[in-house]
Amino acid sequence: MLLDHQESLVLLRKYGIAVPKTMMFPIKSSFADVKSKLSFPCVLKVDAPELLHKSDLHLVAPSINGPGEFQQEFANLKKIMKNQKITKGRFVVQEKIRGVELIMGMSRDPSFGPVMVIGLGGIFVEIFKDVSFRVSPLTKKDVEEMIEELKGKKVLEGFRNQPKVNKKEIIKLMMLLDKLVRKEKRIIALDFNPVMVDQSQAIVVDPKISINEGAKGA
């Protein structure tokens, strides 16, 4: 089963992994309840257990620039949820993070144990499968080589008008992730998609963490 957003954030923070500034509101909140706490630009999402089985239903407003837009998106999401009979869960409001998209993840191989993966996000991973693997535990040198192996690595070096990203932060994040999967044995698979990187930071925007059934809270 998957950890919900709240549980994922708690786990990541415990290991010093950077996540966006996040607020959560009960599912029944009205715009009046939340509007004084907002800052922009932000992302609005729904975190609901029913959604885990409805991957086609994308309840995310990825870029909201002001209160008016927020109110509109908020009403829109509420309407969809009503139609879909989603009653449990909460709203998640996160600061909007910009940068180059990466993916990071882990899956457990029956013979070799945790296998770490890093790749470039978006079409690089979806179409070109531009990823590299290593078996945990990683050294910093391993992560450097993993980045070096990516065919699209130029994207990280300030391609066109993109910023040149901070590789040290990418390496630091991979090392933290490596530590996390070695300590948290209940995690069977993990996906950070995307991780946003820029000149100064690498932030996990959307973590998906699968844990062994029955091991929740262990």
Partner: protein
């Protein structure tokens, strides 16, 4: 460590048969003469050999015994060539006799069916209790050329050399031996692992790491029991000696054959590859590359990626080779003014020689020109390795060129030289000389460049 297999003094062949097409007959003949098929490499095993067969009084001129316990004196190793259902009884006898190691040839164990699986675990348990180490079952046997030891039913004795070859396929070993005699590749040991009931790949890797005669390890692998453990061992061994893997079952289509073959699942190839590269091993794509890499890594010093020089008597071949080097991330050396000056004033260069890397000596280059070029280029401090290409021109001195290469190899022991003699029939003498003197030689520029790349990777790993 594992002396009972690699340094035995006395061997019993249980199931030694008079039938010349049986495995038991093959093993006995191989121990008594060196091999079943005639080869100049065949020599009788240096220790004692005792056939065991309840129905014969003598086989191949040797007195035969009814049981292992009937043999006078100590027995270090028993090669068991009886059918699977009789193996347990033989192990009991071996235990009574104090035998320290057994090789079980028979198939029909864990690789076949549930009944076989049960039988295999019983045999394994019996051996463990009796403190007998076990190779197999379902294997070809082992070879240790330095001991004149061919305890197998393979074709003949391989050449003595410094590659240890461990294989989960026995049939592959047969063909590799045949081929290695032509290519003059020698072995410190060859082991057919079979089902690895007791001794497994990691045990042989650890053994090879401490074996003075082994300079590189070549492994043919199908399934992996414990990837983590393999990784840890490879990481340690590769600090001392290069390890090259050839892994079968990369795709699902090959998986079925692999499963029924060794009785365990092949892991995901991408993960395997990542894990082994991370542990300092090399991955070959086919059998030729497995031995070419092992051979080069065993014979040549590792190479810094400072600058590789290419010397050729054919412009096209030189450019091809430079292209491959670039593709592989090999840095090509820039020839210094001093080097060019020395070549200019040597008096043997053709007026149209390239004066650049690749250094094209022009088609009419004889051995004297190669000699000056090779020695001058290798003397340049930032040239870390050299590929010498020879295309066949009517005046080319194939053998003399090879001798020039060998003397440069001795003069610059820290700088690897890889030869690329392009051709066949008319270059054979030179190629044979290079092979006999352990200078790696390849027929095409791509293979030479790949070999150099392996030496560069080895250097990077050792510095890590």
């Amino acid at each position: 460590m594992l002396e009972q297999f690699f340094q035995p003094k006395s061997i019993a062949v249980v199931g030694a048969s008079r039938n010349p097409v049986s495995a038991g007959h093959g093993v006995l003949k191989s121990l008594l003469t060196g091999g079943v098929l005639p080869s100049p490499t065949n020599k009788a095993f240096k220790g004692k050999v005792f056939p065991v067969n309840p129905n014969a009084s003598s086989i191949l001129g040797k007195k035969s015994y009814k049981k292992v316990t009937d043999i006078p004196g100590k027995i270090d190793l028993a090669v068991i060539a009886v059918r699977a259902s009789l193996v347990k009884e033989v192990i009991y006898d071996c235990a009574k006799k104090g035998v320290k190691g057994v090789i079980i040839i028979a198939a029909g164990f864990g690789e076949s069916n549930e009944q076989g699986k049960t039988l295999e675990s019983e045999v394994k348990e019996l051996a463990r209790k009796s403190k007998i180490r076990l190779i197999g079952p379902n294997c070809l046997g082992i070879f240790r050329p330095s001991m004149n030891l061919n305890a197998s039913f393979g074709p003949c004795m391989p050449l003595q050399g410094n590659i240890a070859f461990f294989s989960q396929s026995g049939a592959l070993i047969d063909s590799v031996i045949d081929w290695s005699l032509e290519k003059k590749f020698g072995f410190s040991a060859i082991v057919s692992l079979g089902n690895s009931s007791d001794l497994e790949m990691t045990d042989f890797l650890s053994w090879a790491s401490n074996d003075a005669a082994t300079k590189a390890v070549a492994i043919y692998l199908e399934g992996i029991h414990d990837g983590r453990k393999l990784m840890e061992i490879v990481k340690t061994v590769s600090r001392k000696k290069p390890v090259v893997f050839l892994k079968a079952g990369r795709h699902a289509s090959g998986m079925h054959a692999v499963q029924s073959h060794t009785g365990n699942l092949a892991g995901n190839y991408e993960v395997f590859k990542a894990a082994m590269l991370q542990s300092g091993a090399f991955i070959a794509n086919d059998v030729d590359e497995l031995f070419e890499l092992a051979h080069v890594l065993a014979l040549q010093p590792s190479c810094e990626n400072k600058g590789i020089a290419i010397i050729t008597n054919g412009g096209g071949a030189g450019v091809l080779c430079a292209d491959h080097c670039e593709d592989l991330g090999i840095n090509l050396a820039k020839l210094s003014k001093k080097t060019i000056g020395k070549l200019d004033s040597s008096g043997v260069m053709h007026p149209a020689y390239s004066r650049n890397n690749p250094l094209d000596l022009v088609g009419d280059a004889l051995a004297d020109r190669y000699k000056v070029a090779i020695n001058t280029v290798l003397a340049q401090p930032d040239v870390s390795g050299l590929i010498v290409i020879q295309t066949l021109q009517t005046m080319t001195e194939s053998l003399l060129d090879a001798k020039v290469i060998l003397s440069a190899r001795k003069k610059f022991p820290k700088k690897p030289i890889i030869a690329c003699y392009m051709g066949g029939k008319f270059s054979r003498k030179g190629v044979a000389f290079l092979e006999a003197h352990h200078i790696p030689d390849f027929n095409i520029p791509l293979k030479s460049a790949r070999a150099m790349k392996a030496l560069i990777e080895r250097n990077a790993w050792l510095k890590r």
